[in-house]
């Protein structure tokens, strides 16, 4: 039992949240923030596998999220809803709650295939040069999507709300919250199990000394392919969830800014620390949402104290000054991030006695 304590705690917490949402105790805003927290956790931890554990500098992670978002949306719209693009639903809308996980899986697999776009060049190059390739991959993906008029091009794609309606038609429960919680937990578990297995230790081995890894029998190309595909696949799943929470996707939502958000979460949490990145993703989501209220409050305060001219307003744009500033301060005073390359249990050994994840 105790070996699974975190698993049990998470499941219990998730059940409480779902029950609270069902009982109407959480308003829509809180629910949305919770779901974005989960999506950010998946997005950031998957990036952490490549940027943290493998020590590469992938700057195009949002591109894979984009692939997953579009593939997931198209599939779910085509399969479960009546729409202009595909006409009548391919499968019965009643099957939506049961087949939705398959849609997420397909989105992940598609994104994992696009991960090869970065994995294959990584055999021959690394560091700064690979970073440039990842940015290119991000742009390639966005440009492809924007230029397919069939799926809306730059106008974006919508209709996923109808999939939600189809699910709610079967049973009226907070479906998206459940999916986000399940997938978040699954991806944390996948990454945790991967990096603690000898098989997964090949990833930090490649990071720390690629030559030694290759000579000691680690198939470095296979490790890189695996890491990039797992990482981009999970990003794809997070993208599909994102698309369904929003009900609308647009390729520009997955540009380099979104990739940067991912990197901020990884470097905030610590490179090579799963628990650190999870905490950072949660903190980052709260920070971004908190500023939504804090900035107008600050604006009001400064005006009341007559410190600001009436013509100037502290707008939400300041968010993009404050968040990068956090990054500057972080790099200055704690460049290894919150937890460095250690897990939470390293800093609080007593936690290990009670809390283990398997």
């Amino acid at each position: 039992m105790q070996r699974y304590s975190i698993n049990i705690l998470f499941v219990a917490g998730a059940v409480c949240l779902v029950l609270a949402a069902q009982a109407g105790m959480l308003d829509n805003y809180v629910l949305t923030v919770l779901m974005f927290m989960g999506i950010n956790v998946i997005f950031a931890t998957s990036l952490g596998l490549v940027n943290g554990y493998m020590g590469e500098f992938s700057c195009g992670h949002a591109g894979f999220m984009c692939v997953g978002a579009y593939v997931g949306s198209l599939l779910s719209v085509a399969c479960f809803t009546t729409n202009k693009l595909f006409g009548a639903p391919l499968l019965s809308p009643e099957s939506a709650p049961f087949l939705f996980p398959l849609v997420l899986l397909a989105a992940g697999l598609a994104a994992a295939l696009f991960g090869l776009l970065v994995a294959l060049p990584s055999f021959h190059t690394r560091g700064d040069y690979l970073a440039i390739i990842t940015i290119a991959a991000n742009y390639i993906i966005i440009s492809i999507v924007e230029n397919i008029d069939f799926i809306g091009g730059p106008r974006g794609f919508s209709g996923m709300k109808r999939t939600m309606n189809a699910m709610n038609g079967v049973l009226e429960i907070p479906w998206m919250l459940i999916w986000v919680l399940v997938v978040t937990f699954a991806s944390i578990l996948i990454l945790h199990r991967l990096v603690t297995s000898t098989y997964g230790k090949g990833v930090p081995a490649v990071c720390q000394n690629e030559i030694a890894a290759e000579i000691m029998g680690v198939d470095t190309n296979r490790v890189k392919t695996m890491a990039f595909m797992v990482s981009s696949g999970l990003a794809g799943v997070s993208g599909a969830l994102y698309a369904h929470v929003y009900g609308y996707v647009n390729a520009q939502a997955f540009n380099i800014l979104k990739s940067t958000e991912g990197m901020v979460m990884v470097y905030l949490g610590g490179m090579g620390s799963l628990s650190g990145v999870i905490m950072a993703a949660i903190a980052f989501t709260l920070l971004v949402e908190g500023l939504r209220f804090a900035l107008p409050a600050l604006d009001g305060l400064l005006h009341n104290l007559n410190l600001l001219p009436a013509s100037y307003e502290v707008s939400q744009v300041w968010k993009w000054v404050l968040i990068p500033l956090c990054l500057v301060l972080l790099m200055q005073f704690r460049p290894e991030g919150l937890l460095g390359n250690r897990e939470l249990s390293h800093y609080f050994p007593r936690l290990r006695r009670f809390f283990t994840l398997k």
Partner: protein
């Protein structure tokens, strides 16, 4: 049949001929030394044999298979392990992990086993754990399992690197200057350790070494290289008096 046979191996880097027609055979239980002045091409030989470079010309047959064009990890899987002149440990992974990862090529499970924690995964990891413990125990490293290699003194790092090489379960162990940077006391310990490994694991060892004391005490056979060519090959006693060797080390005027 020889465990390793190298035939007319040559390597050039651009205009530089680093190695010319190198020939060599090692049996299943030999202890051979490779010496020569700096830049003679000794490490190049190791890099070619371990699959790190593809030779310009020549053939390498290891464990019955031609290894030309194989990647280093495939050569390792055939039973070849090596250490490096400048230690190359995974410095931010524990000593135990360093030993564990060296068994990567014979894990026998894949991504899905790791994620789903299948029975195959459990069996394989148990096996790996047991072998790690054996090796750490034999190499007297048990008390350092949780340490990071970068925090260990130099001599111990050398020992961890040796343990890691042994963890791949080699039939031939290449040691690239194992005594470099060790003090006199450590060198004695190293000689003892290498002899012990040779006797205990019953494997062939081929080492590059500059310290005469090490090669003279340990090796049954010694090869001397200079400017990419083999200039002498024989028992340590013969090599010591070989005029070509003396000329290579001390210059022609000394003869």
């Amino acid at each position: 049949m020889a465990l390793l046979s190298v035939h007319n191996l040559s390597q050039s880097f651009g205009g530089l001929q680093a190695l010319t027609d190198f020939n060599m055979e090692i049996g299943g239980y030999d202890l051979v030394g490779l010496i020569g002045p700096n830049g003679a091409g000794k490490t190049t030989v190791f890099n070619l044999v371990s699959g790190f470079y593809t030779p310009t010309r020549g053939a390498i047959v290891f464990n019955g298979k031609p290894t030309r064009g194989m990647k280093p990890h495939e050569v390792t899987a055939l039973g070849l392990a090596r250490t490096f002149q400048n230690i190359r440990l995974w410095n931010d992974l524990s000593v135990l992990d360093n030993i564990r990862i060296a068994q990567y090529h014979r894990l026998g499970y894949g991504f899905l086993d790791a994620v789903l924690r299948t029975a195959r995964y459990a069996r394989a990891e148990k096996n790996v754990d047991r072998k790690c413990r054996d090796i750490l125990d034999m190499m007297d490293l048990t008390e350092f399992v949780e340490e990071l290699p970068k925090n260990l003194p130099y001599g111990l790092q050398r020992r961890v690197e040796l343990a890691r090489a042994l963890s791949t379960k080699p039939r031939l162990l290449l040691l690239d200057e194992p005594a470099a940077g060790l003090n006199a006391l450590d060198v004695d310990g190293l000689i003892h350790l290498i002899r012990w490994i040779y006797n205990e694991f019953k494997i062939s060892i081929w080492m590059i070494e500059h310290q005469m004391k090490v090669v003279m005490t340990l090796c049954q056979r010694l090869m001397v290289m200079d400017f990419g060519k083999t200039i002498a090959d024989g028992a340590p006693g013969e090599i010591q008096n070989n005029p070509d060797v003396i000329a290579a080390y001390l210059g022609d005027g000394a003869v």
